[in-house]
């Protein structure tokens, strides 16, 4: 089952050229479908965004109303883009960090196919009015069951790779990968069983739903994205991360607080007071792992002159990671949450996390492995670099606009003297500008899509 790859990446510090290792191809195929979902999800969310600015846009088309486009777009980004790449990344990195590979990826290819089909049909079901208004739980049962089974088919290999590793010891990266791998099925089963398949009574749903939606980011996509950053930085620079013990502290503090900080969205909400307090405290204490990760990564990056594309991705990714969790920490402080919890600032947190942190980190690993399929293609390198900069500019400008608009919106909505429709008028210019940021982000996503599909086409036409 666990063949030793002919030339392990950790031994000679280079990517194995041997085509006996199926994982780079698996990652290429996964990236191809995932980048398609990235573009599709962003388009859906942009259409929804246009409707916020101009509600008459596509009015009367039932399957393209805001309330259906938003869950479709977010599910496409989380289950299509983030999770699909994350799965392939788990297998790929565990293989590289363990010096082993898998014998055959047939099962994994079937799983990816089933996952894509289930997601496509699931999104159609949401478009047809099958949503339930619970964030990230909108997919109908047939789709979430298929996604879970496909996950199991991939995760079996992940576990085998981790157990069968030939390189002694574990790396910071592999802790995060194992953590993500364990949390995903547990979260998805809990969320779906308790809220969709056999729904618990209404009063108990709010905390579980908030915890689940936060967990999909904090306990699944975020750990895998951090694993990518902690892999890319030492790999590109040929240097170790700073102190081992610091990484250890960073990992356990991250897991401990991330497990609870989804509740930070429920401050002041219909949950027991202790849950809101735990949510606030854990969201706030996320500052600790953020600081540790920052010290760890920038300690290694300091003074380097080898700014390759994956390294820039990792640096931007860790910046977005810090931005996401710092903003979320501020937003969970009770008096701040009382004013701003339901404003566009919450959208900015999601955008920084999913569009910035996850997209930049996972995109970094995709761009790290693509050159071996491209044979020094100058256009591909340009596309890769455009993807990075357009994503950074798009997410950054949209997040700034959303935060500024959200501040105005929060004050206007708490002022008894201002009627609601006026508070909408105040934020409209900011929402319009944020929409432009989303369009820039879409252009960046399209660059990644083109780069991955060019590499795939080249590989299919002329296999090495």
């Amino acid at each position: 089952m666990n063949e030793v790859s002919p030339r392990s990446a950790m031994q000679d510090g280079r990517w194995p050229r041997g085509w006996t290792d199926p994982l780079p191809r698996l990652l290429l195929w996964c990236s191809a479908s995932a980048s398609t979902w990235l573009v599709a999800g962003t388009v859906l969310l942009i259409i929804a965004g246009v409707q916020v600015v101009n509600p008459a846009f596509l009015a009367g088309v039932s399957f393209l109303t805001f309330g259906r486009l938003v869950p479709m777009g977010i599910n496409a980004l989380v289950y299509g883009w983030g999770s699909l790449v994350a799965l392939a990344v788990i297998l790929y990195l565990l293989s590289r960090l363990g010096g082993v590979t898998i014998a055959s990826a047939r099962l994994a290819y079937c799983a990816i196919g089933a996952w894509n089909l289930a997601l496509l049909l699931g999104l159609c079901a949401i478009a047809a009015g099958g949503g339930n208004g619970l964030l990230l739980l909108e997919l109908p049962p047939f789709a979430s069951v298929t996604i879970l089974l496909a996950y199991v088919a991939m995760a079996i290999w992940g576990y085998a790779l981790f157990r069968g590793r030939r390189i002694p010891g574990t790396f910071a990266s592999s802790w995060y990968l194992v953590a993500g791998m364990l949390c995903f099925p547990w979260l998805v089963v809990t969320g779906n069983v308790l809220l969709v398949w056999l729904p618990i009574p209404g009063p108990a749903q709010a905390p579980v739903a908030a915890w689940f939606a936060g967990g999909m980011m904090n306990l699944w996509l975020a750990p895998v994205s951090l694993a990518v950053i902690f892999y890319i930085v030492p790999q590109v620079l040929g240097r170790r991360l700073a102190a081992y013990n610091l990484s250890l502290l960073g990992f356990w503090s991250f897991m401990l607080f991330a497990a609870w900080c989804g509740l930070g969205r429920m401050v002041g909400g219909p949950v027991p007071a202790w849950m809101a307090s735990v949510g606030f405290v854990s969201s706030f204490l996320m500052i600790i792992p953020v600081l540790i990760a920052g010290v760890n990564v920038f300690g290694v990056l300091k003074g380097t002159s080898e700014w390759t594309l994956p390294l820039r991705h990792a640096a931007a990714g860790i910046g977005a990671f810090a931005g996401t969790y710092l903003l979320a920490a501020i937003l969970a402080v009770p008096p701040v949450a009382g004013i701003f919890n339901f404003t566009d600032i919450a959208v900015a947190v999601g955008l920084l996390g999913l569009g910035g942190f996850v997209t930049l980190s996972l995109g970094g690993l995709i761009q790290f492995i693509l050159p071996q399929f491209e044979h020094r293609d100058p256009l591909a390198e340009k596309l890769g670099s455009w993807h990075l900069w357009l994503t950074v500019i798009g997410v950054g400008s949209a997040a700034v606009c959303l935060v500024l608009g959200g501040i105005l919106q929060g004050f206007a909505q708490s002022d008894p003297g201002i009627v609601f429709s006026h508070s909408v008028d105040y934020v409209m210019p900011f929402r319009f500008l944020a929409l432009l940021g989303f369009l820039i982000f879409l252009a960046g996503a399209a660059c990644l899509f083109l780069r991955v599909h060019r590499a795939l086409a080249r590989y299919l036409i002329t296999p090495p």
């Binding site: 009015g129 949503g131 009574p201 905390p207 009382g338 339901f342």
Partner: protein
Amino acid sequence: MNRTPAVISGVVLVFALAWLGVAMYSYMTLGYLAPVEDKTSGSTLPPALSGLADAGQRVYAAEGCAYCHTQQVRPAAISGDIEKKLGSRRTVARDFLYQQPAAFGYLRIGPDLSNYGLRARDEAEVHRLLYQTGSAMPSYRSLYILRSISGQQSAEALEGLRGSYAPPAGYEVVPTPDARALAAYLLSLKRDYPLPEAPLEKTK
């Protein structure tokens, strides 16, 4: 940390703690909340939903209303919700007793709807709001039928539609069963009674 079990068992432990604390605790305590007796009317609180309103909350969920509208009035200690007259007391878990799924909401792109039933004048106003594009809300025209008037105009036909939304002469706009259910649900949102854990609060 070099051994496999340390990472795996540690992560399982950390996750299990949060899982027990959030999922299982919510289920075992909040899941067993019961209605409380109302001494003045002799019935129970929160009031049960009518059959039509119960169907309406499914339309509310499927149309994704919760992405723009919250149903959470937060305590006066941390927010201006009560001063802003979104409600006369904070929203608590028991308020969602008859809601399936609980539509607590994520954002306030639109106004809070916890007490929409107290603000709305009548069902006709709800239908007009849903049918016509408002300041930020898109039109939910697909929940209505535009049909030619055969004989007499239907008693359910929407009145007072403006501009391009007004039906041409000889036509009328009538709500589908989904629209009627949604309106009934929205009109049922009245949380003007105290609960033991959430007494009515006074505005400043």
